[in-house]
């Protein structure tokens, strides 16, 4: 007797919808461009996430990025002969009650270069660079706190470190 797989539903954030919409619209404008293929591959990967396939790997905490240690990353690339150019960042929420579906929240689809996808995901989850989830949870108002140096927060979102080696957080 085969084991029944849990039902998985995806919950796209508004930002993720915008990421996909931009890709879709670009593909419509340039039917021969790489965007159409990238869109199809991204949707295929989302389909696999919905089927319960794990991500390419779980994410860990790195001080130069927002803490996404509760998230997974799935690699996406339009060119099978090149390193995947994009990342889908998502996280799973266990059902609150028996019988409810597992929710996989899709947070961002972004470029791998400069960790763009991860910075986008952090921004959408309201997580500044350099703070662990535990630190954020311990603060009641992590963003609005006047005691927090402002430069550190704005700098973390607007100017992600360009010197960060990509292989550290793929």
């Amino acid at each position: 007797m085969s084991e029944r797989r849990p039902v998985i539903r995806i919950l796209p954030t508004a930002g993720l919808k915008q990421d996909l919409q931009a890709l879709h619209d670009a593909a419509l404008k340039k039917p021969q461009g790489p965007e159409g293929r990238l869109l199809r591959v991204a949707l295929n990967e989302l389909g696999r996430i919905q089927q319960g396939v794990p991500g390419t790997h779980p994410l860990g905490y790195m001080p130069s990025y927002p803490d996404l240690s509760d998230c997974e990353t799935t690699y996406v690339g339009a060119d099978p002969n090149a390193k995947p150019s994009h990342r889908i960042v998502w996280r799973e929420r266990a059902p609150q009650r028996p019988g409810e579906p597992v929710i996989r929240e899709i947070i961002a689809l972004g470029e791998r270069a400069n960790g763009q996808a991860y910075h986008m995901a952090g921004q959408r989850l309201g997580r500044p660079v350099g703070f662990t989830l535990a630190e954020l949870a311990a603060q009641r108002q992590p963003i609005a706190s006047p005691s927090r140096p402002r430069q550190r927060l704005t700098g973390s979102f607007d100017t992600p470190s360009m010197n960060e080696p990509d292989h550290q957080f793929e």
Binding site: R9, I10, L39, R40
Partner: protein
């Protein structure tokens, strides 16, 4: 004498009054002395309620103040009840909306919301899934 057919009634569900007759005092030619007379009749309880109107059409009623307060209380209770129902319905819809937002969607639904390319992908994906199930 005229019959009241509840033309102004019916605001309270389940509280329809049976038809009743009233005497309407015409106001178009009512003089001061006559007004004093009917008011005295009212005070003695001989005309209760005292109804005024022209063309035998009831327009206004003089009723005991206690009855007026009771009427106000009744209307207020009906208003509070209606407001509570409205708020309960509002809460129910908000909760439903929140729940549906958190319930997620399928990737096919997400793709279809993008436009023609997403729609095409969703169709292809469904067909491929169907084929896989038949294998």
């Amino acid at each position: 004498m005229t019959r009241n057919d509840n033309a102004h009634g019916g605001s309270s569900p389940g509280a329809e009054l049976p038809k009743f007759s009233v005497n309407v005092v015409p106001t178009d030619q009512l003089r001061h002395e006559e007004l004093a007379t009917v008011l005295n009749l009212y005070r003695r309880g001989q005309v209760t309620p005292l109804i005024f109107g022209d063309g035998n059409k009831p327009e206004a009623a003089i009723i005991p103040f206690a009855a007026f307060v009771r009427l106000m209380k009744y209307d207020h209770a009906a208003h509070v009840h209606a407001e509570a129902d409205f708020q309960a319905e509002l809460s129910r819809r908000i909760q439903e909306s929140d729940a549906s937002g958190e319930a997620g969607m399928t990737v096919e639904e997400l793709a279809e919301s993008l436009g023609p390319l997403g729609q095409q992908w969703a169709d292809d994906h469904r067909a491929a899934q169907q084929e896989k199930r038949h294998e």
